[in-house]
């Protein structure tokens, strides 16, 4: 019975993390597609949103409202980052250093305000679900369902809606999209803002199960990078699939070896993928 419990626990964790990682890396991938910019501040944006949510919770006292406020602020932060970076996108090396520096600024703002603390977002649904003598926390189940539905909505948004199609068109060919009457500037700004909001959502949800400290953003940046590299830069469907594959790998490594190996595994995946197949695993022609 214990083994069944462990299996269910691991599967649930892999699904939950997979959905959250997909949300993070789809945002990252969208930015790369639309602007050809690797946003090294993406991981910190996620932690920043979690800390903002924590701050708002202490003011307002309601975790859902505070979360909505924090997500709205990270939406605006994404747009602001586009405004800051985009005029300086040449040469490439400068953009990389610029986004890196912006991430460092956000991280250090967190340090300056809170200091080296651990926080946990106070969003918890108590209770447990009992199936054949096995009890599973309701919080995790609801969170997993919520995260997976966001992933599905995101997929529908990118493939079916007009805005999503416009984003993909700009990613494919900027000039052709311009000729078709798409307002590229607006699409770019929207994409950065949406990616920011997605990062914020994922950050708040992750922070309700894992503790965050200001510098952990780099670790999530590494996770997003390894998913995006594994799938191929700019490949949105691949990023969603890779998110689930890598979260499963992480869960298994964490259970069978040691959670300390998580970071090693992620960065090793980046290195191996880039050395063997730099274009990504799911690369299709065109």
């Amino acid at each position: 019975m214990l083994q069944v419990l462990i299996f269910i626990e691991l599967a649930l964790r892999a699904l939950l993390l997979g959905a959250l990682y997909s949300i993070i890396s789809v945002g990252f991938s969208l930015i790369f597609g639309v602007a050809r910019i690797l946003n090294f501040a993406h991981g910190i944006q996620l932690v920043f949103a979690a800390f903002l949510g924590y701050l708002f919770y202490n003011i307002i006292g309601d975790s859902i409202t505070a979360a909505l406020f924090a997500i709205f602020i990270s939406f605006l932060l994404g747009a602001a980052i586009e405004k800051i970076i985009y005029p300086f996108r040449h040469p490439e090396i400068r953009t990389i250093m610029l986004t890196f520096g912006l991430g460092r600024i956000l991280e250090q703002i967190l340090y300056a305000v809170w200091g080296p603390v651990y926080i946990m977002y106070p969003l918890y649904i108590s209770g447990s679900l009992k199936i054949f003598d096995i009890s599973i926390s309701t919080h995790r189940i609801i969170l997993a369902a919520f995260a997976i539905s966001i992933t599905l909505l995101l997929w529908l948004f990118v493939t079916k809606t007009k805005l999503g199609k416009a984003i993909r068109a700009v990613a494919q060919d900027e000039e052709a999209a311009m000729i078709m009457g798409i307002n590229i500037k607006r699409i770019r700004l929207t994409t950065f803002a949406i990616a920011g909001a997605l990062a914020g959502t994922a950050g708040l949800l992750l922070n309700s199960i894992y503790m965050f400290h200001p510098a952990i953003g780099w670790e999530y940046l590494g996770i997003a990078l390894s998913i995006v590299i594994f799938a191929g830069l700019g490949d949105i469907r691949g990023a969603i699939i890779a998110g689930f594959i890598l979260s499963l790998t992480e869960t298994l490594i964490g259970y069978f070896i040691s959670p300390l190996w998580r970071t090693v595994a992620y960065f090793a995946i980046i290195i191996i993928t880039l050395l063997i197949r730099p274009s990504g695993l799911f690369r299709r022609s065109g």
């Binding site: 600024i105 290195i271 050395l275 730099p278």
Partner: protein
């Protein structure tokens, strides 16, 4: 004219070195000496980043790997094998150069964002490995290292000597010996390759030298601090070095020295809350310089407008003196 500017530059450098060498005679405040030691270690680190990323244009986001790695090599060599400290410095440098081959041979064929990600990934993997084997590397605690020089003055002269030698070597390579091939690679690698430059060779060579110098600096820093922690391998360390190089002027090795001295002196002269947020100030300066003054201090000062102003002034004075001499002669 070029001879004259060369002499002028040499003169300025010599003045700088002499002033630095005389500092212990002028002041017996150990704090100032400590800050200069820190600055010179950071100067080596920043200019070694500048050699690979500024001169050769290969963005390296994991440069702290070689700095912290040098420190760890020192800890292993002194604690396990009891090797003489003086031998440890070159050994740390050499092992970091070997590590740079491991990192560089596969990753330098990538470019742009891919290279940035790979270097970052290598550095973070090693840091995660150090944290994953606490029984070998003592995890977060790190090692304590026996100091090999006691007192500030010997440490000061050794750090100064190291800075002069290593930065001099990197300056010679980056700005004289390999200036043209590295500039070609930085500006357009495909064209450089097409015009017969062995880009892989030059990139690897500059990467090798850069990580050697960084390793030696890290090793000296470990002896000076008498401790090695994974802190030296973090992204923050890379960003600090990057900031110094960007502020001083990317691609001019000597600019990074100026940047390192300026930033270290500024941050050490701060107190209280502002000292706590010094990394925020560093990052803000990095972003500010990248956006508004991407050339850095040294290049802005040496820009044509200011240079021509200076030359006009000089030539005016010289002409007047020449006229006067002619008058005297007649």
């Amino acid at each position: 004219m070029s001879q004259l500017t060369l002499n002028k530059k040499l003169f300025l450098n010599i003045i700088g070195i002499v002033v630095l060498a005389l500092i212990p005679l002028l002041t017996d405040n150990p704090y100032i000496i400590h800050v200069v030691i820190l600055s010179s270690v950071y100067a080596i680190f920043a200019s070694s980043w500048d050699l690979i990323s500024g001169c050769a244009g290969q963005i390296n986001l994991g440069h702290a790997l070689f700095f912290g790695g040098g420190g760890y090599i020192v800890a292993f060599l002194t604690l396990w094998y009891n090797i003489h400290p003086l031998l440890c410095l070159p050994l740390a440098g050499l092992s970091m150069a070997a590590l740079s081959l491991v990192v560089g041979v596969p990753s330098l064929r990538l470019h742009g964002p891919y290279l940035a990600i790979t270097t970052l990934a290598f550095s973070e993997t090693i840091r995660a490995l150090i944290l994953a084997f606490p029984e070998v590397t003592r995890g977060d605690e790190g090692f304590s290292v026996r100091a090999f020089l006691h007192g500030y003055i010997p440490n000061y002269y050794v750090s100064l000597l190291l800075m002069i030698v290593l930065v001099g070597i990197m300056h010679y390579i980056g700005n004289h010996r390999l200036k043209l091939p590295l500039a070609a690679i930085r500006q357009n690698e495909v064209v450089a390759q097409a015009s017969g430059i062995n880009t892989t060779k030059y990139k690897l060579l500059s990467f090798l030298i850069s990580s050697f110098c960084s390793g030696v600096a890290g090793a000296f820093f470990a002896f000076y601090r008498m401790a090695v922690t994974p802190e030296a391998l973090t992204i923050g360390m890379t960003i600090d070095g990057m900031t110094m190089a960007v502020i001083g002027g990317r691609g001019t090795i000597l600019g990074s020295v100026i940047g390192a001295f300026a930033l270290t002196f500024i941050s050490e002269s701060l107190r209280g809350f502002i000292y706590r947020v010094r990394h925020l100030i560093y990052a803000a300066l990095l972003v500010f310089f990248l956006m508004l003054m991407p050339e850095g201090i040294i290049n802005t000062l040496a820009s044509d407008r200011i240079k021509s102003l200076f030359y006009n002034m000089c030539s005016h004075l010289l002409k007047r003196r020449a006229k006067r001499q002619v008058n005297y002669g007649s």
